[in-house]
Symmetry: D2
């Protein structure tokens, strides 16, 4: 759908993801990287729960924020970086399940700002349920040595 400006977008996106200690800590994994679309997933882990035993909203947000950020990043020129400006998370159902999937798609890429939407799903026994959505603004950053990838 979108034409990537960085021919190495897939490996650069994966390399940026792998430099995230927090994603490693919570067990977030990359399922798919396409130009403008990223899918991440996470197995249930009891260390990640809130007081009712569901996955914490902060974990669901981390999965969608990462998927949105890397979806925007996949369309950026080489050597640019991505920063989250803001996002809104809506929680539609408790995050209960064996595995969670975060699907983000760039709706409007831009030179400075990109608008990205994501959905989060809980999977249990072959059944998939929509549990949350995100609407996010991502910013392209160039020529800042502290912000790469």
């Amino acid at each position: 759908m979108f034409e990537p400006r960085n021919p190495h977008y897939a490996e650069h996106t994966l390399a940026a993801f792998k430099r995230q200690n927090f994603s490693d800590l919570i067990g977030l994994q990359v399922d798919q990287i396409s130009p403008g679309k990223v899918i991440l997933s996470l197995p249930f882990d009891a260390r990640l729960t809130q007081q009712h035993g569901f996955l914490h909203a902060g974990v669901t947000t981390t999965g969608m924020d990462n998927a949105c950020g890397f979806a925007a990043f996949s369309l950026m020129p080489e050597n640019w970086g991505v920063l989250t400006v803001e996002f809104k998370t809506t929680l539609m159902a408790p995050a209960a399940g064996e595995r969670f999937t975060y699907v983000a798609e760039v709706i409007k890429p831009g030179r400075t700002l990109s608008y990205v939407e994501a959905k989060a799903y809980a999977c249990q026994d072959e059944e998939t349920k929509l549990i949350a959505s995100m609407s996010a603004t991502m910013m392209c950053i160039s020529q800042r040595p502290d912000i790469k990838g």
Copy 2:
């Protein structure tokens, strides 16, 4: 400012917080619980960073979401629970510092929905910097055995 409806609001809020495995994992701590106002904090931890070495937006969001949720919870009747409906996070500056503080205040408590705002600060060498804000809708839940606290 607000009159709590649960005389044990402080200990019940703390008990709900302590049942959050995820807050324990990331090192989130309770600094203050007042009726309608909660302050949490977190020391820097390299396990919580994104690809540029700053604290991940998901951690900043977790701190503010928890502060907002427990601020709303502190005003609820005994034996009710709180669920996050939605929040918007705006990231104003990179989460760089030794310690991070999350301050939430209920702006409009309601029978079903409460509107809560939070700010996140990074602290380094006696200096405090505003790094993020949250605008959140929290829902009171009664009589659901799976949602208590």
Copy 3:
């Protein structure tokens, strides 16, 4: 896709819309009412512009908020009312065109809260362009004499 609980949902939604003086003032029209989906539209009108000659963001928001509210309302029981809890509007392109269309779809209907998404489009010379998006929380209200429809 959704089963309406009010057999007269279409005429009741239209009647509620027609009681909106503000929609009449700005020239908003109903194009489609289906269970959980509403499309509204508006011809360009120079009275509705901001300082750069584009349609004001408040008009774009009104179109999407109305479409979201009535999409939620179309799935509610008879004699209930709908109130907007909150929405986020993202403006992706200037609202320039001959005509504007607002398409809203309920993503997750609920007993108390419904989550609805909308997109706004500008139409000019057979071309349609995405200009804005909305992510909204709507609330069902029963048994309040001041909130009907």
Copy 4:
């Protein structure tokens, strides 16, 4: 609090406001323009209501969006323009009253993006009630002939 970069910020902000046909149509007025803070107000007008007789959420949003945009504009260099990137509106109480006030303050001004917050109040018989809040991202635009003020 903030130092304006445009010595004529007040008259330029007022001039930009006066070029908004939509603000004129709905009766929006300027009460105060300070560096980074703008207050607008609006008398009740039956043409602006939704189906329950309250002011339409689109009107409340227009008042807060304008206040936020001009608060950001008041801190920009001369000859720059402002565009709304996104905002979130939370509606806390019905917009019922004789007069409505919209108070916006820049929280974090930036070279490209500014973060601004607003509150909306309804006034009736000397009583003032908080009815809505906004959290907004505004963008500075330079050197685009179609975006000035």
